[in-house]
């Protein structure tokens, strides 16, 4: 009995000791959304809503789910098979076209897992579980508010809205005329209903709050500033100036840089590397963008070797990239993902250029760290009740595209500095990137390259050397005359010369004979 009491006491002491430790030790970002990690989500949609306001929302949803740490399998409703539901504990159905989605839930009635429906026509199961009643309205100008954030003048052609429901509600939708006042979403016991979702407005964040609860993700979130579109051809002096401006404003930032695969020994590459080093010296973190294939198509095996070469070049120049960026569609194909993103488990995904989700039916695994990208112009359009932003539902990378003019650059820096967004330092989390020859990592604010602290001093301008251009080997003029096909000619000439010599000899002898004859006659 006493022994048992002793054990209990020990356990209690251990618990007391471990509790503050758990609170004090910061959770690494890679562990974010750990609880959601196991979640396998099946995303079924009726239509991609091409050329409608709904266009792009499936792809946005995929990116959100991956950022929240879920494994996503996306299928169109006509390709859905009941056995798919067995492999996935969670189901999201999206109704983008009212006429088409009547049958979307057909065949899913037997699904017993957790279910989230987006759009009109919620399935009967949800209606029952959430005691849901909905109505529809046409041509409405809405105000959407959630968690202290709000956006007005969201115009919708057709809106399904909740009139009655049981469970936790999220946000509020109010029509401009005041006729509609309804919660944005409702959820209870693993079932949730979101009547409206469109990319490019506050509903992106609003649905993220719903998903966060639905996926039971509870890790704290951060926001980062990401400058995209850095290529070797931009004004590199401007990039250095921007780094300095952001550094002076106290904003840590990320840059997404295009790789260079050829002529990496040219001075242009040295200047590019020097500019990136200046970024690093001004508390910027470098991410490498996996290039979008050109219209000629691509061979993933070539890409992997080329990317590796570029990453090694960066590391040789003292730059420690911490992760990759790329289009969403690149994360979907197994081979493409392996070729482009295999170097790091930190990956920021951008919306596809075409804005279309691909019809991939394979499950897409999440990355260890993958902040969700949101263009700054979308985020800064959102009004907020307080100056301080509420906690975001997901790690957020607020993106600016590379600036065309000095004025737009100045304005962006002003906006970022005045936005009150709490931009975090990417390096304070654990990230790592390994190429064939080097390893770059960040840990608690330190940037390491091959295990040693990376050089964060701004290097002076690289010495302008004479460009080392290796000329393609030129064929020497007349070379061919003496090569293969002309050997015949040489043989002919030699033969002729020999014959000539023989004839000369014969002629000489004949001449001599003639001379002797005539001499003999004398």
């Amino acid at each position: 009995m006493r022994r048992r009491t002793g054990i209990k006491l020990w356990v209690l002491v251990l618990l007391c000791l471990s509790l503050p430790a758990a609170v004090l030790i910061p959770a690494p970002a890679s562990a974010a959304q750990d609880s959601a990690k196991a979640a396998r989500v099946l995303l079924v949609y009726d239509s991609l809503g091409v050329d409608t306001p709904a266009a792009g929302n499936i792809e946005t949803l995929q990116r959100l789910l991956l950022s929240l740490g879920a494994t996503v399998t996306t299928v169109a409703s006509d390709a859905y098979k009941p056995e798919m539901a067995k492999d996935n504990a969670k189901l999201i159905t999206v109704c983008n076209t009212e006429d088409l989605c009547g049958s979307i839930t057909h065949g899913m009635t037997g699904f017993t897992g957790e279910w989230l429906h987006i759009g009109s026509n919620p399935p009967e199961v949800l209606r029952g579980k959430l005691a849901l009643k909905t109505e529809t309205a046409s041509r409405q100008s809405l105000k959407l508010s959630v968690n202290g954030l709000s956006e007005e003048h969201i115009f919708v052609n057709r809106l399904a809205y909740i009139t009655e429901g049981k469970g936790e509600t999220y946000g509020q939708i109010t029509s401009s005329e005041g006729a509609i006042q309804t919660p944005y979403a409702v959820s209870a016991g693993g079932y949730a209903y979101v009547p409206y979702f469109q990319s490019g407005n506050l509903s992106e964040l609003a649905i993220a709050y719903v998903l966060r609860t639905w996926l039971k993700a509870d890790a704290p979130t951060q926001s980062y500033l990401l400058i995209g579109g850095i290529t070797p051809f931009i004004d590199l002096d401007k990039l250095e100036a921007l780094s300095e401006q952001l550094y002076n404003a106290g904003i840590p930032f990320l840059v997404s840089v295009s790789p260079l695969f050829n002529n990496t020994d040219y001075p242009a590459m040295q200047r590019y590397a020097a500019a990136l080093q200046a970024v690093q010296a001004h508390n910027g973190s470098v991410l490498v963008q996996v290039p979008t294939p050109t219209s000629a198509g691509q061979d993933p095996s070539i890409l992997k070797a080329q990317m590796d070469g570029f990453l090694n070049h960066l590391a040789d120049a003292g730059i420690a990239p911490l992760g990759m960026t790329g289009d969403m569609k690149r994360a979907q194909g197994k081979e493409e993902r392996e070729a482009g993103f295999a170097f790091s488990d930190t990956t920021i995904l951008f919306a596809n250029e075409s804005g279309r989700a691909s019809g991939q039916t394979e499950a897409v695994q999440p990355f260890a760290a993958s902040p969700y990208t949101m263009p700054a112009k979308v985020l800064l359009r959102i009004s907020r009740e307080n100056k301080i932003w509420p906690a975001f539902p997901v790690n957020l990378a607020v993106t600016f595209d590379w600036f065309e003019s000095d004025a737009s650059q100045e304005e962006a820096v002003r906006e970022a500095a005045g936005s009150w967004l709490p931009f975090a330092d990417f390096k304070s989390e654990t990230h790592s990137l390994s190429s064939s020859a080097h390893k770059a990592e960040s840990r608690s604010g330190a940037l390491l390259l091959d295990g040693k602290p990376a050089d964060l001093q701004d290097q002076a301008e690289p010495e302008e050397q004479a460009p080392v251009v290796s000329q393609p080997e030129q064929k020497v003029t007349f070379h061919a005359l003496f090569s293969v096909q002309n050997r015949i000619l040489i043989v002919l000439i030699i033969t002729t010369l020999m014959l000539f010599a023989v004839f000369l000899l014969i002629g000489y002898r004949l001449y001599k004979k003639k001379y002797y004859k005539s001499g003999g006659g004398l």
Binding site: N263, Y266, A268, P291, Q306, A480, Q485, N486
Partner: protein, 511 residues
């Protein structure tokens, strides 16, 4: 074989020789190859390299194969859709090639095929014209030749000009088919004029018409039009006849205007792909210091990393179709500025000429020849009737030095007779060297235009005109040697130098 049979065989050969001239034999041979290769399955043609859409859509045709794009570069496609309703692109008249495409389309509609266009109709049209051109060429080449030499030349012509590297173009929408046919007519007409084998007015017309069609077939041929116009001036002094002189004079002026008009009016086809290669695979690759070369054009030095880049590279630091690439790179230069660059940088010009010469002896492109239905691998090229292209590609010394030597030797061969003709003021006889020089210059010009316009990319197709000019001139020189028109006891007689026809200039000089 008994005596009677032998007599019969000899009689047959005599009859055959009487009715089938070397020219007819060559024409028949080429026609037969055309029939076998282009009209009997598996049909031979050329795959689209992405250029078809311009000529197709402007002429009321469209790609109707659902998997058309996947066949690009690799498979020949023979059927295209005909627009059934208003075609908003139809007003565009791109080049003289349009005439042939529209004529083929009309023929197709006559036969009731008004929904689908079979490219073989166009091949038949080109084929008929080409057979005529071969006939005239051999007719001129075998002039005053012995029977043996004549038939030998005819077989040689079938070997060279019946090569599939040439004929396959007829089953395609490339303007090279027009270039080939018209260049042959142009050369033959000039030579026949010198030989006085046909009516001068007819030949003058043939020369003018083929020159105009050739010049207007694409914008790049504008300088060739200028060269031809210069030779056409000579025709004014060919006859005393006032009508002839007026017509010849007018023709020279029209040709000159056509050349200028082609450059100004025909839409610029200096498309981005070629423009990109002109810089990345031309200027930058041949420059000692690519950054300084970029300074010449006012382009940011950072673009030097594009040295050697190909438009079709799988990955590019910025997408080649992007707006940045357009405004920061492609919009900063054009054909004239690149030409100016090479003129002021002879070392680079020398290097690019060397590259051009290396590729100038290839008659065949890397595009596939078979239809997809023929179950051949993607991009498979036919081997049948390709002996000459392979021989040429294997045997020709591919250096600029060879091109120069070839030109000097040939000009030297004809220099003596040219000198005599000038001395005797027999203008008609000067035409022989003039025509040869015209062809050589046109070939050189095409070579220069192709490297200035597209660097070292796709040279086999871009230097097509040089390849044809080289073949025509070389064939002609061989013909002159075989027919003993250059040396030997009867050279002067064979070359027509003893034919009585005082030139207009001579008479004019006496007056």
């Amino acid at each position: 074989m008994n005596k009677l049979q032998r007599i019969k065989l000899v009689q047959t050969i005599i009859v055959w020789k009487k009715y089938i001239s070397p020219a007819s034999l060559a024409a028949f041979g080429v026609a037969l190859i055309l029939l076998i290769e282009l009209f009997i399955p598996p049909y031979i043609g050329m795959a689209d390299n992405g250029d078809y859409y311009r000529i197709l859509y402007s002429n009321g045709l469209y790609f109707n194969a659902p998997d058309y794009t996947s066949q690009t570069l690799g498979y020949f496609v023979k059927n295209f859709g005909i627009f059934q309703y208003y075609n908003e692109n139809s007003a565009l008249l791109y080049s003289s090639q349009t005439l042939f495409v529209r004529l083929a389309l009309t023929i197709s509609e006559w036969f009731g095929y008004n929904r689908q266009f079979d490219i073989r109709i166009q091949a038949a049209l080109y084929g008929v014209l080409y057979v005529g051109a071969v006939y005239l060429l051999v007719k001129a080449a075998a002039w005053k030749a012995s029977r043996r030499a004549g038939y030998g030349l005819a077989l040689g012509a079938v070997f060279v000009f019946g090569d599939i590297g040439y004929l396959a173009y007829f089953n395609s929408f490339y303007s090279e088919s027009v270039v080939l046919i018209m260049l042959m007519y142009l050369f033959s007409a000039g030579m026949l004029l010198y030989q006085r084998q046909y009516n001068d007015y007819f030949l003058l017309f043939l020369f003018g018409a083929s020159a105009m069609i050739l010049t207007t077939s694409k914008q790049q041929n504008a300088p060739i039009g200028l060269i031809v116009a210069m030779v056409a001036v000579l025709f004014v002094f060919l006859k005393r006849d006032r009508i002839f002189r007026t017509l010849a004079g007018m023709q020279a002026v029209v040709l000159l205007l056509t050349a200028v008009g082609t450059y100004v009016l025909i839409p610029e086809q200096f498309v981005n792909i070629n423009k990109y290669h002109a810089m990345t695979r031309g200027v930058l690759m041949t420059a000692d210091n690519p950054e300084q070369a970029l300074d010449f054009f006012g382009i940011d030095r950072q673009f030097s990393v594009l040295t050697g880049a190909i438009y079709y590279d799988q990955f590019s630091p910025i997408p080649v179709e992007s707006e940045e690439m357009q405004t920061q790179f492609l919009d900063k230069y054009g054909f004239p500025s690149i030409a100016r660059y090479y003129l002021t940088h002879p070392e680079s010009a020398g290097r690019i000429f060397e590259t051009a010469a290396r590729n100038a002896f290839s008659n065949r492109t890397k595009l596939g020849n078979y239809e997809k239905s023929a179950d051949k691998p993607f991009g498979k090229r036919t081997l049948a009737f390709s002996g000459y292209s392979y021989l040429k590609e294997w045997a020709a010394p591919k250096t600029s030095g060879f091109v120069v030597i070839w030109m000097i030797v040939i000009a030297g061969l004809y220099a003596a007779s040219f000198y005599r003709a000038v001395k005797e003021r027999a203008l008609r006889r000067t035409l022989r060297l003039s025509m040869i020089l015209m062809m050589m210059l046109a070939g050189l010009c095409a070579m220069a235009v192709s490297v200035i316009g597209a660097g070292d990319a796709d040279l086999a197709k871009h230097e097509f005109l040089f390849a044809v000019a080289f073949d025509l001139v070389t064939f002609w020189v061989i013909a002159d040697c075989v027919c003993r028109r250059l040396w030997g006891p009867n050279a002067k007689k064979n070359a027509g130098e003893e034919d009585p026809e005082p030139s207009a200039l001579l008479q004019g000089g006496q007056q």
